[in-house]
């Protein structure tokens, strides 16, 4: 059995979409300026190009995993430090995502509770996800996607109040600092995570992967476009730059006769997305661990992974820390997303030419 295109699309959606949507608009408004939605769309196009390159690598790889390609070119002892670095990086990223979510949740609805205790429950569920095969994880993600996919539709509530004049006729003006490459990298964090698609290469046909990536990226770009436009047409630009979490502010205006505080309920559902992201990163780490310890039972590897995951979470104590770390990691992920497919592509080409030379 191989993963189908919609599994790939769901993996991509769950990797990119996340808690960053809550402050994404503010960050984009600060860095890009007015009509930042167009900027987000341009970044989306850039991501699409990057994904096209990943799809090309998948095609050339012919079902071989990223690690197989690397091991064919480099001796294993040389790769061990890279593997260890990758494992720690991925687990640390998963940990940042989990801790960021629990800190934000504590801030919103659970001020009296220790976030590490909240993270413990998160970790237990994650353990049961990562001990499964990729197909089990794809089923879990499909169900999680079904639960959260409708959330952007809540924004339709604001259509009556929406005003096009708030978008302003100016493009990319009034950013806090001058528009530089750094501003774009800052805004890029809405899309962080898609480089993990590389680990899915051996589990699907390259055609399905291509289709899934294209559809998934289109879907997520449209979701962001809808959310950006809804917020820009509802909240004035100056206010938007001042609100920490504009989407939460926006959702707090929704009231039903039987329930209030839709923003905190919506935020709770985002645990499905954070859980999926953390799980994919930890699953990636387990895949690398299996290269180092091929005979060890996956349950022990998962146990080691979540222990490191929980240990890393102690490093960050407040939201500002997780957000700073997340920002640094976004840059690293961007570098990884751009350079790792290039490196893999070069390796594949080199392997092919040296094979031909030998023949």
């Amino acid at each position: 059995m191989k993963l189908k295109w919609f599994h790939i699309a769901i993996f991509l959606y769950m990797l990119e979409f996340g808690v960053s949507i809550f402050n994404g608009d503010r960050v984009a408004a600060e860095n890009i300026g007015t009509n930042y939605w167009l900027g987000i769309l341009l970044i989306g196009l850039f991501v699409c190009l990057n994904l096209a390159f990943i799809a090309l690598v998948a095609r050339k790889a012919k079902g071989r995993s990223v690690f197989d390609i690397m091991e064919a070119s480099f001796p294993k002892p040389f790769l061990i430090p890279i593997y260890i670095g990758l494992i720690l990086f991925w687990i640390f990223t998963a940990s940042v995502i989990g801790k960021d979510y629990t800190l934000l949740f504590q801030f919103l609805s659970f001020p009296s509770r220790d976030p590490m205790q909240l993270l413990l429950l998160y970790m237990v569920v994650m353990y049961f996800i990562i001990i499964q095969s990729i197909y089990g994880i794809s089923r879990v993600l499909t169900c999680f996607f079904g639960i959260v996919a409708w959330l952007p539709l809540l924004l339709l509530h604001f259509i009556p109040e929406w005003d096009i004049h708030r978008l302003t006729p100016f493009f990319f003006k009034e950013s806090v600092e001058n528009l530089t490459i750094y501003s774009w990298v800052e805004s890029y964090h809405l899309f962080v995570g898609y480089d993990m698609i590389l680990i899915l290469i051996p589990f699907c046909d390259d055609r399905e992967l291509r289709k899934g990536l294209f559809i998934g990226q289109t879907f997520i770009s449209l979701t962001y476009l809808m959310s950006n436009l809804a917020i820009s047409g509802y909240i004035s630009f100056k206010l938007l730059q001042k609100l920490s979490y504009p989407v939460l502010n926006l959702l707090s205006y929704i009231e039903f006769p039987f329930i209030n505080r839709i923003e905190s309920l919506t935020f709770i559902l985002f645990v499905f997305i954070s859980l999926s992201k953390s799980s994919i990163y930890c699953f990636g780490a387990i895949l690398v661990l299996r290269r180092l310890f091929p005979t060890t039972n996956v349950k022990y590897l998962a146990l080691a992974t979540i222990s490191i995951f929980y240990g890393f979470a102690f490093v960050m104590q407040v939201l500002r820390q997780t957000e700073n770390v997340y920002r640094i990691f976004s840059g690293m992920e961007l570098a990884l997303a751009i350079f790792s497919p290039i490196l893999l592509f070069l390796l594949i080409v080199h392997q092919r030419t040296s094979r031909k030379g030998r023949a």
Binding site: M1, F110, L118, V125, Y135, F144, P257
Partner: protein
């Protein structure tokens, strides 16, 4: 052979030995298994007056079957056959009379429209109920025997032209590998076949309805009937099968869709309503609008327990009522209903044990749990709800949502003869995925088998 048979059935009150032709023809059988009519037709009439007739000329014609194997003869007697011993020759004749109740309406899975027949304990009658509905030579019946002592017949039924042969082979291997002394029903076989026996969720769709089973056969599944059990089950089954009833297909499709969606909503309500109440009243009062909050605090002000304990007491009481009601005869059952209604109704509120709103929540959850058509699935969900109540009491909405996530992860980890329990999430076509939740118009129902040939 005669002596060996007599010694094999020593101390059997119903074992009968009759002699004809001055002891030249011996007939042995178990009188409790044979029918008078069959006995009269195949034994008494042919052999009553045989003067001048060669007995061998009778025995060499059907329905008498020659046998020279003692084990086969003993098994034959146990199956309700008579053994005829004439000089050194042994013959078997089937004079079994199936005793059991006649075909009735199912009490567990009754429906309003559509066929009312249900399976009975006799496997041959059950096979005939299926054969009457699927008139195809491709419909195969394979008999296997399980239970070293009970020697229970287990019959597999499937359409040979569409079945996945690999799956069939695996099912046969797994059933043959069952090592047990006794089998008393289909539920026991399912428990021995389950790949995740420690899960609370039922992994095989058990039903008493021939129409449901026929639908499964036509879809390309293997159906298993167990002698002595009025339930049959199909392999492989998935989670969503437990929410489908034949009623959906016996009504206009729009009503069918609404009813199926209603069942999923019922599942959701029974699962989360009480834990939601616990989470809200323990940690998240802020989500309740002001006017409702006044009512809620008014109703809770006299309750001395924390919401978790309050909900546990009420849920435990209602579970006891349900269990008592299920075991009692109808007349006493009514009394229990009245007493329970008073206990968990106004009296509990007046005594300050619980709040009105919790009573409403518990009652709605209980009603919603009856919307789930399958009894075992309903029980599994009731049990899981208690876990969610604890999580909601400890971690609020966060615990509740992670509990739901945990359940999804658990369901995703269950597999069933190589197919996933949450199968529609692995389907390659979104059309089939939607088809699980929404039943399309009858004219558009695809006839292509869902489970055939290729493993999902």
């Amino acid at each position: 052979m005669h002596e060996e048979l007599l010694s094999a059935f020593e101390n059997c009150m119903d074992f009968t030995n009759r002699s004809y032709q001055e002891g030249q023809l011996q007939i042995v059988y178990l009188s409790s298994l044979v029918g008078n009519e069959e006995m009269h037709r195949d034994i008494i009439l042919p052999f009553a007056n045989t003067e001048g007739i060669d007995i061998m000329s009778i025995l060499n014609k059907p329905p008498y079957i020659f046998s020279c194997n003692l084990a086969e003869c003993i098994q034959g007697v146990l199956d309700g056959k008579a053994v005829l011993l004439y000089h050194d020759y042994t013959y078997l004749v089937d004079i079994r009379h199936a005793k059991g109740r006649s075909i009735e309406e199912s009490k567990v899975e009754s429906i309003i429209l559509g066929p009312h027949e249900s399976f009975v304990e006799n496997v041959s009658q059950n096979i005939s109920l299926i054969r009457n509905r699927i008139k195809s030579s491709q419909l195969k019946t394979v008999k296997l025997v399980v239970g070293s002592t009970t020697q229970t017949d287990v019959v597999l039924m499937f359409l040979d032209d569409i079945i996945n042969q690999e799956l069939l082979l695996e099912v046969k291997t797994r059933i043959n590998a069952i090592e047990t002394k006794a089998i008393y029903g289909a539920t026991m076989v399912t428990q021995l076949l389950e790949e995740n026996p420690d899960s609370v969720f039922p992994q095989f769709m058990l039903t008493e309805r021939p129409d449901t089973i026929c639908a499964h056969i036509v879809q390309g599944r293997i159906v298993c009937l167990v002698d002595g059990s009025p339930s049959a089950f199909s392999m492989p089954s998935n989670f969503f099968d437990f929410f489908i009833t034949p009623e959906d297909y016996n009504q206009p499709w729009i009503i069918g869709v609404v009813l199926r969606v209603l069942r999923f909503v019922g599942f959701f309500i029974t699962f989360v309503l009480t834990p939601f109440y616990v989470a809200i009243t323990t940690f998240h009062y802020e989500v309740i609008p002001f006017n409702m909050l006044l009512n809620l605090t008014e109703s809770r002000k006299n309750v001395p327990f924390p919401p978790l304990l309050e909900a546990l007491i009420m849920e435990f009481t209602i579970e006891m009522l349900k269990e008592a009601g299920a075991r009692m005869p109808t007349k006493i059952g009514q009394t229990i209903g009245i007493v329970g209604g008073i206990v968990i109704g106004q009296a509990a509120v007046q005594a300050g044990f619980t709040s009105n709103i919790l009573i409403i929540s518990v009652a709605i959850s209980a009603i919603a749990s009856f919307v789930i058509p399958n009894y075992i699935m309903s029980n599994a969900i009731r049990l899981f709800r208690f876990l969610l109540i604890f999580l909601a009491g400890g971690w609020g909405m966060y615990g509740l949502v992670l509990g739901i996530a945990g359940m999804i992860v658990h369901l995703a980890s269950i597999s069933n003869f190589g197919t996933a329990y949450l199968t529609p999430t692995a389907f390659k076509s979104i059309r089939k995925w939607i088809g699980t939740i929404i039943r399309g118009p009858t004219r558009q129902l695809r006839q292509s088998p869902l489970h055939s040939k290729e493993k999902q």
